[in-house]
């Protein structure tokens, strides 16, 4: 039996995606073009993501700050590559308080300029360093095509910006944050990722280099899921961030930035969810357990309450559903919302001394004795679900990771069963552009710890410098 409001994932993936978003009440389209309303179910996932990541950031010595929303044009222009990258897609404020502004200001598409401008005024000596700051905020990029979570004019994210005394320390920070993102994706979101370095063409405007985590969706399309940039002294030279170093000389500081966005919620959907709606890993689900009493029998209600209290005390976020909807409706609702575990309890169950436990990932139902240690059972089940989601996604990613010798092979794969394709590359941007002609396939990342497989570029057949993962992108 499948949810009728949801198109089959294998039939029409794009339609399936928006159906799930709608059915699970994650967002509502708004009358503000290109912007969406995060409804409680959607925003609660973001809150859990924030809480977990924020803790990881703080444990590694980062502090939160908040920078202004608007960037004056002259400030944005200081770093030439940045303005080139973002100018076409920003929104400009030209009127404030009924007056035309002397200088227009854009709504931040990202905040390197503001952080750098701030750092230039507070960094004086090596004693002030490192400064490891992060902010959680909204940003705006004037996209033409928009899709919930994946691409919208306004989105929510975190952007870390750090300043260091040495390039070594800044590079270590860049790698540390990539590792934190990988840890978070794999161990909380249950999404396996590839890590690597972006090519010059695909790196962030203004960065020396960009590290990335790349995830593979159910349909074989790649999603750039988080990036960590090493800036070297590019921004510090543009924004004049100088400090007195240990040799008492003025030196430009070394910087990094790194960010992940509400796009992660899109990844959660496209990796784990199914034709019955949302599937969420227990560690990130806003509701972990739905307890659904069947009927109004006093013993049933009492037992449901008892189980609910036991699970709350064990630290679970539960929803004891006492609304006047039918049990079937409640089951479907817990399912479409991606609640990892559902506990069903009727008067016949009480008579038989059992409770029924349904897991969302496999949709299996199990009956356990009422005398069993339910916390122990649930602990183990939650682990199993979390692991199963990760292993399923990992297996899929492995199965959809191919190698290709040349453009023909890439084309054949992308036209039949897209995925990650490992292929050698000479380092020439023109070859990247050639690959792009195949359904927009782009380099996802350079695998830093692997050598070219055949030794020859998949396009020009010249000597390969790197092994690159290629993929069709969201």
């Amino acid at each position: 039996m499948k949810n009728k409001a949801i198109t089959s994932r294998d039939l029409d993936f794009a339609k399936w995606y928006t159906d799930v978003v709608k059915a699970a009440k994650l967002v509502e389209y708004s009358n503000v073009k290109g912007c969406m309303v995060f409804e409680p179910n959607g925003y609660a996932i973001w809150e859990n993501i924030q809480t977990t990541l924020d803790k990881m950031f703080k444990q590694t010595g980062h502090k939160n700050v908040y920078m202004p929303l608007l960037i004056p044009e002259n400030l944005l222009k200081k770093e030439a590559e940045l303005i080139e990258g973002f100018a076409p897609e920003v929104a400009w404020v030209t009127i404030g308080g009924q007056k035309n502004l002397e200088e227009r200001m854009c709504i931040r598409p990202t905040s390197e300029t503001l952080f750098s401008d701030y750092y230039s005024s507070v960094v004086k000596s090596y004693r002030d360093l490192p400064l490891k700051y992060n902010q959680w905020c909204n940003v705006m990029r004037w996209e033409k095509e928009t899709r919930p979570f994946l691409r919208s004019r306004e989105f929510l994210w975190q952007e870390g910006h750090t300043v260091h005394e040495t390039s070594k320390e800044a590079e270590e920070e860049t790698r540390l944050m990539l590792e934190i993102y990988k840890d978070f994706f794999e161990n909380y979101l249950a999404i396996p990722v590839l890590t690597g370095k972006k090519t010059e063409k695909e790196k962030f405007a203004g960065a020396e280099y960009t590290l990335t985590i790349e995830a593979l969706m159910y349909n074989g399309v790649s999603l750039q899921s988080g990036t960590s940039h090493y800036f070297g002294q590019k921004f510090s030279k543009a924004y004049d961030i100088k400090f007195l170093n240990r040799n008492n000389e003025l030196e430009y500081a070394y910087q990094t930035s790194w960010g992940v966005t509400t796009r992660m919620i899109g990844a959660l959907i496209m990796v784990h969810s199914d034709d019955n709606g949302l599937v969420l890993p227990p560690k990130i689900a806003p509701t972990q357990i739905s307890i659904i009493p069947i009927g109004n029998n006093e013993n049933v209600i009492n037992k449901a309450n008892e189980i609910n209290n036991i699970l709350i005390n064990a630290g679970y976020i539960t929803n004891l559903d006492m609304s006047d909807k039918s049990p079937g409706f409640k089951f479907a609702e817990a399912e479409v919302n991606g609640v990892p575990v559902r506990i069903e309890l009727g008067s016949r169950d009480i008579e038989n001394n059992v409770i029924t436990i349904a897991r969302r990932d496999t949709r299996e139902k199990n009956t356990i004795s009422i005398d069993e240690d339910i916390v122990k059972y649930i602990n183990s089940l939650m682990n199993e679900i979390q692991n199963n989601l990760f292993e399923t996604a990992k297996k899929r990613m492995n199965e959809k990771t191919f190698t290709a010798k040349n453009l023909d092979e890439i084309e054949k794969i992308m036209n039949t069963q897209p995925g990650f394709i490992k292929g050698d590359w000479c380092g020439d941007e023109n070859c990247e552009l050639k690959v792009k002609e195949i359904r927009g396939t782009k380099s996802r990342c350079i695998l830093e710890n692997e050598k070219p497989i055949y030794g020859k570029c998949v396009v020009c057949e010249k000597e390969a410098k790197h092994l690159v993962v290629w993929g069709i992108q969201y």
Copy 2:
């Protein structure tokens, strides 16, 4: 001994305020006019405020959502009073993605329009109600004069927006949120507040009525600190939020909204802080205890670590300051940052089996035996500090609350020792305007549970309808 970077509070209150903000590193002025950078010390206070309030909101059945940043002009215009109130002070986006927009959009000054537009599309039946949503976000109002936390073009806040089936339920919500704000101010921020109803002139544009909490600063100036609005059907009629009621008839829904802002941090400063810098109540301080070892003696360091671990395990947020600054510098830093308790520990203390404990509020130092139960001692001290801050502020508010019979008395009080003035009022706006001529004194609120004292309006001497609290405002 006083902090030399801080002007005396009694000498120049405005200068003292900005000195404290600067010395405690709460914000930095930015190159974006009228906007400020929240530095880690300032933002951490906001995070604590958010965490506490958010819990209170959720415990009373509210859920978080997120609405778009931009409001199209036609949407804003639907509610006439709202646009009248806000149009002069919004920022307009007129260009997006290098094109002039067909319709300009403003950066939200508040989000009644967006919530109402959303509600009009999702509310169908009484079964959908109530919807009790809140959002934490940035908003923008194009102020001319700005001061850190008190008035800035961009600020952070929460705005709750709820929809109800009946006026009774919506009015109860309006009162409930006022009580939550009062509870939060008094029991967490340690700031006593007056509660009451705004006059027609001072209420929120578009509200049926506005309830408010009003606090009194050290210098006797009033600060509107949080408001809760009852909208009745005003917005539901403008934005067409209709539902099928229990009699199967279409009815316009009843709404509320309520909000508090980063201005609360300004109140914390102006109520509790002193000539040595910030003073923070323990329940909201980002660092509750600074532990400062004096010298490098191994026994001292070990003991400092031991105490630190004990206090962390007891749930305190501590800072064991092992930096290479001098002890005197560390003491001053803990003091100016408003850390409620400072523990000093030197080798002579270890020899004498004592530790020194300094409290920030009274600046008293106390020596306790190393064998004493330190957690018990600190628990009790923290309670004492929290209570002392509240009682000190309460006493001050009482001492600065006066009664006046007529304009002359109001003028005399406001010119010598401003504060809250209780005075009878006939209900006529012209009389409010008369009072305003005295140093901008405005009605703070109507005291709903108190009757006029003398029975005659302080201005026109006609029959008084209300007892009003008057005050000079920030």
